[in-house]
């Protein structure tokens, strides 16, 4: 099945917002065999929205829009598309009741603002797509030739929720029995360079990968290897992907930490959980980012105890017990200090394992001996402390992200050993 996507908003055209919704929608619909064949982005302008929707309906007959459903005057998607279908807008009591309830649940007193009441106006004959994550309802409009437009909100969290709960089931019903698919599978690696991965997978050529397309996707987490199959029935596609994934795992060994959207922090938490290990952290240049990454995972509280953000040297001494002599002698970015930070964090929190990070994230603070990107990482567990130095590339944000990823990977490799 083919669908066109129209993303709406001045801020998208002006370049103030990067359109992440479009990619998300494509990825969520692909497993159903749905292909987004064309995408348009238009501003908050009724006549341009109407023109783009009319053209897409004439070409493809199936259109998803995002954006322009909010409560303010620049949100014109609903009336513009209602006009394309020749429908009037009417107040929907059920939506109004839901918006009222939402306001009340947030402790809002008094009458609903008129601008939010406008959100309860829907075109005649529309199906309402329930928004469990905000006030703007989605709308499904269909004409007598079964051409349809589904309108989703532009706020990513609301859009994602409504897509999963309301639109995917509806589209799935339309494509049921659709025989040919595009399917892919992604294996996530960290700690191996892109070119080394390519060499490992192609020298010698791997038969299991011959009928797949292989993409190498480097990022701050590491390199993802994506295998894609097109134009097969779904069981044959899955079989080919399973063989390819097994071959990649065989060749890259412990470099692979997960698949698809797996987060290394979640992988590490799960490994800790199975060993009943609890983690603490001691962070200098990452300033809390490792703790934030671990606690971003729901349910992390049975594993993560906490730790110390020791950005200033005084805090390394007072809250982690790093001897001031060590700091003076070796400097804060050194093997000795990293090890003392990890040991101190473990000692003072009672965790089974502590991770420490100290480095120079830049842009300032580098020297010839310790250039920007130099990071010492340490792990203290079971009475022993190990340290490693790495020089990470990138800007301040990337260096910090890579340092956190590397610290997590040190622990993963420790726990993955039998």
């Amino acid at each position: 099945m083919q669908i066109e996507l129209i993303t709406i908003g001045d801020e998208l055209l002006l370049g103030f917002t990067i359109d992440t919704n479009a990619a998300h929608i494509a990825r969520q619909l692909a497993p159903l065999g749905v292909e987004i064949v064309r995408r348009a982005t238009v501003g908050d302008d009724s006549s341009v929205i109407a023109a783009a929707v009319s053209e897409a309906l004439a070409r493809t007959g199936a259109v998803i829009t995002t954006g322009g459903l909010g409560p303010t005057s620049d949100d014109v998607t609903r009336p513009a598309i209602a006009a394309v279908f020749g429908r009037e807008l009417r107040l929907d009591d059920e939506i109004l009741a839901r918006i009222t309830a939402l306001f009340e649940s947030r402790g809002y007193k008094g009458p609903i603002p008129p601008s939010n009441i406008v959100q309860a106006m829907v075109p005649e004959g529309a199906v309402v797509l329930v928004n469990r994550h905000g006030t703007a309802p989605g709308i499904w409009l269909e004409d007598d030739q079964r051409r349809w437009v589904a309108m989703l909100p532009g706020v990513p969290r609301e859009m994602r929720g409504m897509l999963a709960e309301e639109l995917v089931p509806r589209v799935a019903a339309l494509v049921e029995g659709y025989p040919v698919v595009v399917r892919s599978r992604t294996l996530r690696s960290t700690g191996i360079a892109e070119s080394a991965i390519a060499d490992k997978l192609t020298t010698p050529a791997e038969a299991a990968l011959a009928r797949l397309s292989v993409a190498y996707l480097p990022g701050a987490d590491g390199v993802d290897v994506r295998l894609t199959v097109r134009g097969l029935a779904s069981s044959a596609a899955d079989e080919l992907l399973a063989g390819g994934a097994a071959a990649v795992r065989e060749r890259l060994g412990s470099g692979i930490y997960g698949e698809e959207e797996d987060d290394l922090a979640a992988v590490v938490l799960e490994l800790c959980r199975s060993r009943k290990w609890r983690i603490s952290v001691a962070e200098s240049c990452t300033g809390g980012l490792l703790g934030a990454r671990l606690t971003a995972i729901p349910g992390s509280s049975d594993v993560v105890l906490g730790g110390v953000i020791a950005y200033a040297d005084d805090i390394k001494a007072s809250l982690l017990g790093v001897p001031p002599d060590l700091l003076r002698e070796h400097g804060a970015v050194s093997e000795a200090v990293a090890a003392a930070m990890a040991a101190g964090a473990r000692d003072r929190t009672g965790a089974e394992v502590a991770l420490a990070i100290t480095g120079i994230a830049g842009p300032g603070g580098g020297s010839e001996a310790k250039p920007v990107g130099t990071v010492w990482l340490a792990m203290s567990a079971g009475g022993k402390t190990s340290s490693l130095k790495r020089i990470f590339v990138g800007d301040r944000g990337e260096i910090r992200h890579r340092a956190v990823q590397f610290a997590l990977d040190m622990l993963r490799r420790e726990l993955a050993e039998p």
Copy 2:
């Protein structure tokens, strides 16, 4: 001047690549008074590319494309657009020489691969846009009615270089003396709801905003208010924007913390710096995110000392000195514990101010009395500690982000007072 943008590539439609080029191009061209009025994304398919380009030429007469100029068989932009203009492709000796030199400079021996020779084929009558960052040259094609298409590569680094070096000067020459511009100014607010902002700015109607378009852009940082002027000379546009911005500041008062890309963390650091205050943090549900946010700002080390990630209650007691009685009696998410965390962090780090966050980020852990999103925030400074409770909406990530933003805003408001 109005331009349409067409981004080309199966990867973009499949959602494996997020289109950051489009936003970059819009932002680079805006200062010239260029408005991207419409954007389309199509796959690597000659007939679809040709159709999209033809439509855009008919509508707007000025088109930029990205992607599809590479050496592989799925790169079909050049022949597709040459056909739209009725031009043949011819081998360009100068480009071939440049590609050959590039291969040699990278240590490549032997004949240039045929696929790269294809990159030296350009449409008759085209102007070549030099690529100093890769092999694919860009192309400028114009017809006898002065309608034009500029083809740029899709690789962001190559595209950005070519845009700055080749295309911006060319477009600037076209719009030289072009009297009217699109210009905008964004004011950033936090702690006020979108509908409340809209009401404050429109009741009663604000004359200074009458000739501006006003967009409300809600996000986890708060609501940005963007004012845009179109179709005026640049001095008149700036004057109108200055009046509008002053009116917004007047009506929203201390709700405005900055403009454009200002980060509240950077604003807070600057305010602290001017008072010689140093910050420490005590984080439970945010697990280090507040520290990470503050230390993401380059040069934060003169203000940020560090602090304690007290995710587990034992750590709140041992590293922050929160009395276990308080934890038992009030629970970790309470006014008393938040205040004790802030006081403990300040006491143990010697900072002039400490911020504490303790709450229920979800998805689990909520109760009727303390639903998911309930967060107590505290600030300890100058011998006094203040606390506030908020119930934030969103998923775990948004609740944590909003809590951090709110904590920063407590400090901003404290410091902003005379």
